[in-house]
Symmetry: C2
Amino acid sequence: MAEVMAPAPRAPKEPRNGVNTPVLLATINAVKETPSLARFRFRATNRWKEGTYSETVVEAFDGAGGEHAHQTQFRYGADHPAVLVGNDRGPTPIEFLLHGLAACITAGIGNIAAARGVNLTSVESRVEGDIDLRGILGISDEVRNGYENIRITFDIAGDAPPEKLRQIVEQSKARSAVFDVLTNGVPVDVTVNVR
Amino acid sequence: MAEVMAPAPRAPKEPRNGVNTPVLLATINAVKETPSLARFRFRATNRWKEGTYSETVVEAFDGAGGEHAHQTQFRYGADHPAVLVGNDRGPTPIEFLLHGLAACITAGIGNIAAARGVNLTSVESRVEGDIDLRGILGISDEVRNGYENIRITFDIAGDAPPEKLRQIVEQSKARSAVFDVLTNGVPVDVTVNVR
């Protein structure tokens, strides 16, 4: 999901990179005319299983004026690894943030390249986050709980000059929902019901 | 991953909730003595497939003074849904942030309850995030790219008074790595190599 309009006047009209560019541009125009279509609410439910292991189901969301079911009910586990006294039945929860970041910028690259008439050959990324667990273990109040920093490196290839490929990645970063949330933060409300 | 030390003097020594409490407390003590053990680096690699679809592999991380392979190579896809001109082969990248948040606080609840001698019966959560896609679609510069807000509601049951169960959730939130990253943000560096 990313800014795909620039440079709009020369945007090609054919599908490219597996992106249905005409439909994408028509969708953007429809949202311009009816801004309420842009309001989305994504949802997930999680259930604790045992220890540090839990499972999340992602199956539907609201948006574009209605509710939408995903084509599949997606289910993901998360756990702590053995070195952190878990059973390693899934990645740690914070590893999923790395997946979300890489996938978000990459999806935008696909869209933007299509809109700019660039055929991509490959897009690969490596992402890593540094964390000092003295925060979450309650050992030091001077250490934050989460990542201290995240780095992501893209290797991109396609039928455009290096500078144009570079600009596609930059534009995707500039319009990435996950990049925005991770770098700028978002208010999170937590409610507790005791059963 | 969460603060499990309070109230340490009365922390029970037996496994509980599927948490090996003695090993967990011993791990915390080991990190207290050798703080460098607390330095972790989590990693993921992502590969673009087509359109807005990409796949991420999570298989190893550094921490506690060495490299660790996960017991399984975890692989996750992410895509845009049909209403956003994708093929819905996976959740959207930002839905994975909701999974990470719910799973992180839930893992902490398991650990903290065990450390405090509470047997949990069930922990379920519903999490949702509101987003106005005019940001990422480049339609309005006054709309942010990411979630405007996230809400998570926990239903918890166990063999403790309501207030004690409530405090366990609060303590997990206070020491959650994902809650910290989402609410406070983290620096993200993006590097681009053209192949």
